[in-house]
Amino acid sequence: MREAEDRLSGQFARALAGDAAAYREFLAGLGALLRGFLRRRMERLPDDIEDLVQETLLAVHNQRHTYDPGQPLTAWVHAIARYKLVDFLRRRGTRQALDQPLDDEEEWLHAPESEAMGTKRDLAALLARLPERQRLPIVHMKLEGLSAAETARRTGMSESAVKVGVHRGLKALAALIREDA
C-alpha cells in the first residue's frame, strides 16, 4: 500500500509542477483505486459508481490548489472522496454506505483497482450546457489540445479570458453535476 501511495504522491508532485503526462498517470491510478473504494461502499447503487468516480476526479482536479505539499496525500484524497460520497448519498436521500464509519484514511488505498464501468450521466451533455465563454476554451484547450494562444486566436477571446474560462467552466461543470443528481 505504501507503494501505491509513494507512486501517486510522486506523480502528483510532478503534476503540480506542471507535468501533464505525470498528471494523466496520477488521475488514471487514482480513478482505479477510487472505483474499488466506491464499489465496496455502494453495493446497492452499482449503476452510480462510475458517475461518482468521475465527479470525484473532477473535484480532485478543481481543488488541487488546496493540496499542501507538507500534507499526506492519503488524507487529502480521503477527505475529498468522503465528502463527495456523503454529498452524493444525501442527494439521493439514502444513508446506506454510511452505516459503517468512513474514518479510515487509508481505505481507498487498500481498495482493489477496478476497470471502468458505464456511466448514467453524460458529462459531454452537461459540458454542452455551459456558456460559450467557458465551453469553447474547454473544447479547444482540453479536448482538442490547442494552446491558450491558438484558442484565443480562434475564439477572439484574450489569452487570460481563455484560461479563466477553462477554470470557471470546470467548476461550473461540477456545479451542474450537483444539480443534475
Binding site: 501533464a20 481543488q63 488546496t66 493540496y67 500534507q71 487529502w76 456511466t119 453524460d122 459531454a124
Partner: protein
C-alpha cells in the same frame, strides 16, 4: 463521456495550479473587510476621545492583545478547515488560550472585589450594546471571509463557516476596542466572546449552504 476521456481532458494542458489563491483571497477579505469595519466603527460609533488616557492602562493593551490573538488563532483554524484532510483540532486549542487567560484574570479581579462592585466588573455600563455592536461590525469581514472560503474546499462546511465567523468577530472586536469604554476582565471575558459567537453561529448555519463544492 468515458472516464478515460475525462482524465485525458483534465490532464491536457493542465499546467501548474495557482497555489496562492487561498492566501490572496484571505488577504483581500481581511484587507477590505477590516477597512470597511473600521469605517463603520468610526462613522457610527466613534473613537473614544479619551483614548490617549485609556492607552496608559495596561488592561487596554491586554484587551487588544486578547482580540488580536483570538483573531490570529481563528485565521489559522479557518485556513486549515479550507483544505481537505488538514487537521485543525490542535489549533482550535490555541483559540482557547486567550479565553482561558482572560477568564483567569476575571477570576482574580472578582476574587479581590467586594460584593456590590462585582456587578460593575461583569456588566460595566455597556453590556447591553457590546455583543450586538461587535456582531454588527463583523458583517463586512464575515461576508468577505465566506467568499475567501469559497475559493477553498472545506469538507466540514459548518465548522469552516463558524471559524470564518469567529475570525470576523474577533477582528471586529479589535476595532470595537477603540470605542468601548470597558476594561474589566469579567466584562471582556463574557460579552466580547458572546459578540464573536453571533457571527460564528451565523457561519455554522450558512456554511453548508454557501460553501458547497
Amino acid at each position: 463521456m468515458k472516464t478515460d476521456a475525462l482524465i485525458s481532458m483534465l490532464a491536457t494542458g493542465a499546467g501548474a495550479p495557482d497555489r496562492g489563491v487561498a492566501r490572496r483571497r484571505f488577504a483581500l477579505a481581511l484587507g477590505f473587510g477590516a477597512t470597511a469595519t473600521l469605517l463603520l466603527m468610526v462613522a457610527l460609533m466613534g473613537v473614544r476621545p479619551d483614548l490617549p488616557r485609556m492607552a496608559q492602562a495596561p488592561m487596554f493593551w491586554a484587551k487588544l492583545a486578547y482580540c488580536a490573538t483570538l483573531a490570529t488563532a481563528a485565521l489559522a483554524v479557518a485556513a486549515r478547515l479550507g483544505r481537505p484532510g488538514a487537521r485543525a483540532a490542535g489549533l482550535a486549542g490555541a483559540l482557547a488560550l486567550p479565553l482561558l487567560a482572560m477568564w483567569l484574570l476575571a477570576a482574580v479581579s472578582l476574587y479581590g472585589t467586594a460584593g456590590a462592585e462585582r456587578e460593575a466588573l461583569v456588566f460595566g455600563t455597556t453590556w447591553r450594546a457590546c455583543a450586538f455592536s461587535i456582531a454588527f461590525l463583523s458583517l463586512p469581514l464575515f461576508a468577505g471571509l465566506l467568499w475567501a472560503m469559497q475559493g477553498l474546499a472545506p469538507t466540514r462546511p459548518a465548522l469552516a463557516g463558524a471559524a470564518a465567523g469567529v475570525l470576523s468577530g474577533a477582528a471586529a472586536a479589535l476595532f470595537y476596542s477603540l470605542h468601548c469604554p470597558e476594561l474589566g476582565a469579567p466584562f471582556l471575558g463574557i460579552w466580547y466572546p458572546l459578540g464573536m459567537l453571533i457571527p460564528a453561529a451565523a457561519g455554522a448555519i450558512a456554511g453548508p449552504r454557501l460553501l458547497r463544492w
